[in-house]
Structure formats: structure tokens, C-alpha cells
Amino acid sequence: MSFINYLSREINCKIVYYGPGLCGKTTNLQWIYQRTAPEAKGKMISLATEQDRTLFFDFLPLSLGEIRGFKTRFHLYTVPGQVFYDASRKLILKGVDGVVFVADSQIERMEANQESVENLQQNLAEQGYQLEKIPYVIQYNKRDLPNIATVAELRSLMNPTNAPDFEAVASKGVGVFDTLKSVAKLVLTELKRGSGG
């Protein structure tokens, strides 16, 4: 649900990074934060445990520039990935405009990936959204690790609808901005479509 402010001429959109525990959602946001010019970003907020596991959410506001005199701002959120934080994940999905699913490429995490996608579908459905109908991008993260599934395998498991997908090593920044740009573009295109353009 985008927020359009005619007085300050701003359009604000909400993007949520979803995925199983330790897949690299927070790492994506940290890389974006580190590599964005100070004037284009706000402070990054992380509500985490003492062990640096996301407890509620991470939040990073970003400005992308102007379209037809309107500033476009994106609020990036992550959800806590651990299974038992489901109540918090539901809250963070409220009003979402676009979702990035960060999948862990390691073979032993395939089940966790699938469980998390199912959880995403279910939580979106509870709010009247369908995953197939909202801007959605998949990132296959941790491509630098030894015990990983092939992209073809990941695709057949995680991406039946042929959503845009990207290989990534979020800790080194590989694929992080490609993923962000892709979802941001889909969100803006959806806004244009929704407003009859």
C-alpha cells in the first residue's frame, strides 16, 4: 500500500525482505546501507537480540530520486526469519508493496526455504494478498559456499511462477543491488498500472 503525499510531493513504498533464519536478509540491508550515499538514506534501525538475530525487524529508508516531480522513497524492512517469530512476521507484512524472498542456497537449507515460502504465502493470504499478484523477486544467496544447490534446482523448487531471480553473495554485495532495483522497478510499475497508466 503506497503512501502518496501531495503536500511534500513524495511517494513512499514498503519492501519486505523475507526468508528463513540466517539466509542473509539483514546482510542485504547492511550492504545497501553501507553503499548508499548519505543524502539518499536514513538511519538503519535493527531490533535484534544480543546475539544479533533479528527480533522484530530491520528498517532502512532509501530515496531513489524523482519521477515527474515526486520524490520516490522506499522503506526496506526485514522480518525475523526464525520459525517461532511468526506473529511478528505477520505484522511487518501489513501494507507491503513488494517482497524479496532471500533463499539460502545451501542444500541443507532447502526445507527451511520451502517452509518459509509457504509461510509467506499463508501470511500474505491472511491479509488478502496473493504472492503471484504482488511485486515479487527471489534472491539465491550464499553462492560462494561449497555445499550449494544448482540454480536450476533452486528455480524448480522455489520459483514456479518465473519471478525475476538473482544469484547473490550478500556479504560481499554480489547481486544485492540487482535484487533491490528489480523489486523497486516492479513496485513502481505496479503503481503505474494501478493508477490506470
Binding site: I11, I45, F56, F59, G69, L191
Partner: protein, 157 residues
């Protein structure tokens, strides 16, 4: 569905917020939508990260709403947190937006609650008018006119 805020209503909201800062002797007053977008702010906001504050205020209201659901309550519409130098009073307005008042020893909780109540009535009336206006305005957000090229240009490095 998108939320569209027009100049008329935003000016009316700003008037209510500015008045509340004065009447309640508050440091800062802000209005945030339930998804964490800042709608309006007034007071000593120069050195305050209001964007982050807005997302955290919405987070705390969302968390309390989740708790209310578990306890079979409709909502917990009011929160008050007392600090050493600053206090924050958070009020859900008409289940649509959140009114947050940050104040210090120049104000009392009783005064803030009293003024917040009055501001809530005014805000409710404004948002009700806004809700009626949105369908009439159609989906004619500014994005109707943009082209694919405009979107591409945004991403040229």
C-alpha cells in the same frame, strides 16, 4: 489500495498538530499511519530522525495490536512510556492513524491526555472526510502519467 493525502487535508492535520504542540506544552507531536509512514510532525523536530521514529511507533502499535488479538481484546489504543527526560504518549486514532506526543517536565500526563482527546476528535473528522474523498478522486495518482522510461531513468547509474 494506496493511501493518497491531498494538500487540503494535510494542511488541516498540520494545524491540529501545531496546536497540540502549543496546548500540551509538548516537545514533538507526530501523526503516523499504521504502516509506519510519517504523515505530519511539529515541534522540535530538527534534530530528530522522524522517519525512524515513525516506523518504530507503528511497530509498537502493531505489536500491541497483536497482543490484543491474543487476549481477545479489540485494540490497546493508548500507550504511555516514561523516561528520565522524555515521555511518550501514543494514541491510536480511529483505528487508522497514530498520534504520538513527546513531552518533558514542562507538561504533565494529565494535560497531554486531555489535549490528545480533543485532537483525536478533530483528526477523526478530517480522516473521515478524507476517506470519503478518496473514491471520488478516482485512482488518478500522479503515477498514471509516468512512462516505463521514467522508471528506467530512475535506475540509471
Amino acid at each position: 489500495m494506496n493511501v493518497v493525502m491531498y494538500e487540503d487535508e494535510l494542511n488541516q492535520i498540520q494545524t491540529v498538530v501545531d496546536k497540540l504542540v502549543r496546548d500540551a506544552n509538548a516537545r514533538v507531536v507526530c501523526i503516523v499511519d499504521k504502516n509506519g509512514q510519517l504523515i505530519s510532525a511539529s515541534g522540535e523536530t530538527d534534530n530528530l530522525d522522524t522517519t525512524s521514529l515513525a516506523s518504530l511507533i507503528a511497530g509498537t502499535i502493531a505489536a500491541m495490536g497483536g497482543m490484543a488479538k491474543l487476549l481477545k481484546e479489540n485494540e490497546f489504543p493508548t500507550q504511555f512510556h516514561e523516561g528520565v527526560k522524555a515521555n511518550i504518549h501514543i494514541q491510536l486514532v480511529g483505528n487508522r492513524v497514530i498520534l504520538a506526543v513527546i513531552f518533558d517536565s514542562r507538561a504533565t500526563l494529565g494535560l497531554v491526555r486531555l489535549r490528545v482527546k480533543r485532537a483525536c476528535d478533530e483528526l477523526n473528522a478530517i480522516f473521515e472526510a478524507l476517506m470519503k474523498r478518496v473514491p471520488a478522486g478516482g485512482g488518478s495518482a500522479p503515477f498514471g502519467e509516468i512512462t516505463d522510461e521514467d522508471i528506467d531513468n530512475l535506475f540509471n547509474d
